[in-house]
């Protein structure tokens, strides 16, 4: 696997919220087209790390980040980086489904509209909607009510829609922050199946509290603890033969 293309590489990433240090020098290589899960107990910094990759951490003002995060060969903390372009290339799915208070149709084309330099033809938009909804398995259910408000959908459909709205922008990477924590068993299964169908074309990084989910729904797993990366390995290796004792104790459920 050594020749696999890398989507994200970080070198010595440290992050402070005010005076509190949340990340203590993270070095990680995340492979292109794979599903990589981030696990660890609450407060270990996994969500913080995820939110570094599209720099949404910074909206809270008192955040300091040092080190280097290379996405597609470019350090995203360089001063000439456009956050708008970065976030176009790195989509994000949140814990609670958060479709915008618009119609289903407008949710899917929202990204296209905000990034468009000139107005888009109705035909192009229609195509994008059909393609994105087909890819996420929503098309047959929703095609007759595209103008309904998205926030009235079932939670599972809302979360799928939140994934669908990323696709028209052709992102390189999709970040998922505990995407199933608001969903029931069926919803969780549906999202995991969707993740597998998207993997390959997109690099997926998923933060999860649920170790079983990391185990069944990711290629590689990263275990973090107190702002440090403890272990990064193929998922089956990490769960079957963890190298670090802290990892094995965590996956055995001794703490966390």
């Amino acid at each position: 696997m050594s020749d696999a293309r890398l989507s994200i590489t970080t070198r010595d990433v440290k992050l402070w919220y005010g005076k509190f240090q949340a990340l203590k020098g993270i070095n990680v290589d995340i492979k292109h087209g794979k599903i990589t899960s981030l696990i660890g107990p609450s407060g270990c910094g996994k969500t913080t790390l995820l939110r570094c990759f599209n720099r949404v951490n910074e909206r809270y003002g008192n955040v300091t980040t040092t080190g280097e995060i290379k996405l597609l060969g470019k350090n995203i903390y360089d001063p000439d980086v456009s956050l708008i372009e970065l976030r176009k290339a790195v989509g994000m799915v949140f814990q609670r489904p958060n479709p915008l208070p618009l119609s289903i149709y407008e949710n899917v084309v929202f990204g296209l509209r905000i990034h468009a330099e000139k107005s888009l033809s109705r035909g192009d938009l229609d195509d994008a909607v059909e393609k994105a909804l087909t890819e996420t398995g929503l098309w047959s259910d929703l095609k007759d009510r595209l103008n309904d408000r998205a926030i009235n959908l079932q939670l599972e459909q809302q979360q799928k829609l939140c994934i669908a709205r990323l696709l028209p922008l052709k992102p390189e990477i999709i970040l998922m922050d505990e995407p199933c924590s608001a969903l029931d068993v069926d919803g969780t299964r549906a999202i995991e199946e969707l993740m597998w169908s998207l993997a390959g074309r997109y690099t997926i990084v998923i933060v999860t509290h649920n170790m079983a989910q990391a185990r069944r729904a990711s290629d590689e797993t990263i275990f973090m603890l107190l702002g440090e990366l403890i272990e990064h390995a193929r998922t089956e290796d990490l769960f079957l033969t963890p190298r670090d004792s802290r990892t094995s104790e965590y996956i055995e459920g001794r703490y966390g």
């Binding site: 909206r59 708008i84 949140f94 915008l100």
Partner: protein, 299 residues
């Protein structure tokens, strides 16, 4: 059984319950009482054969104290009220909603707290003081700036009304924007939206009902305002043809003339009828605001 309570405490509780009930109902009683009183004073004129409701609403001739030919036409006054309110809203809506967006979306920490306090201070200035400002400060400024003979006109009053209704718009508007879940902002931000795109495409549509309610409350404030407009409009009975024309409003007419009339004279009754007209206007505005706000909850 844990021992029965004393009769006193049972009755005490009942009494308090009754008191609270009374407080709740009193608001309704007061509104109806005011309604009844104003109608009782104003309605008899409708039956008088010298008075025509059509003329009242459509004539611009307001000569309530004429010896030979008394005429009660309120169209010019209504036009005065509507034009002053309209121009005031043209000024207040962009500034008020702009300030609401600024306070809610761009300010943090100290700046926000200070701004909110200052804006609320604006609401605390008594309207007579605004009238002073109109008369002594704005008047010469408007005269010099626009080279018009009279500075007491629609523009002057509208600026004052705008300043008076902005605070309520800002605070209600800010509440409406604050009520938009943060997850919408974050979702749009993560898609690469700029701040303005988030505001235009997400926040304003999401908060539109609350913002509309804020504007309508401002309108209600502006329609009902009396003292400041009495002093700043020039108090001339005419339909204004430009913002530099003087005019007179319904409210100012009542304030200026009611003290001079004999009780239950036709003039007195007509002034009350104007009160009913005002009541109707503000009632309609409030009703619209109410339906708009209800619309939020249904969706």
């Amino acid at each position: 059984m844990t021992g029965s309570r004393s009769t006193l405490s049972i009755y005490g509780e009942k009494a308090i319950e009754l008191l609270i009930r009374l407080c709740g109902v009193s608001a309704i009683i007061f509104v109806f009482a005011i309604f009844f009183f104003v109608f009782r004073e104003g309605a008899p004129i409708l039956a008088s054969k010298d008075f025509s409701l059509g003329k009242f609403l459509t004539s611009t001739e307001w000569y309530p104290t004429s010896m030979s030919n008394v005429r009660f036409g309120t169209l010019a006054l209504l036009a005065g009220t509507l034009s002053v309110t309209g121009v005031a809203m043209l000024i207040a809506v962009p500034f008020g909603l702009g300030a609401a967006i600024f306070v809610s979306e761009f300010c943090t920490g100290k700046v926000r707290e200070i701004l909110k306090i200052v804006i609320e201070l604006l609401a605390a200035i008594p309207s007579i003081v605004w009238g002073f400002i109109g008369l002594t400060v704005m008047n010469p400024i408007i005269q010099n700036l626009f080279h018009v003979p009279v500075g007491l006109n629609v523009l002057n009053a509208a600026i004052l009304l705008a300043l008076m209704s902005i605070p309520v718009m800002v605070s209600i508007g800010e509440d409406a924007l604050k009520a938009v879940p943060d997850s919408y902002r974050e979702g749009a931000l993560a898609l690469g939206a700029t701040r303005w795109q988030i505001i235009w495409r997400v926040l304003l549509p999401a908060a539109k009902n609350g913002l509309l309610a804020a504007v309508l409350l401002g309108v209600g404030r502006a329609v009902g305002e009396t003292m400041a407009v009495l002093m700043a409009t020039g108090h001339a009975v005419q339909i204004p043809h430009s913002i530099f024309d003087s005019c007179r409003t319904l409210t100012a007419t009542i304030a200026a003339e009611l003290g001079e009339t004999r009780e239950h004279s036709p003039h007195y009754q007509v002034l009350f009828l104007i009160g009913i007209l005002l009541f109707t206007i503000t009632f309609i505005v409030n009703l619209i605001a109410d339906f708009v706000v209800k619309g939020v909850r249904k969706k």
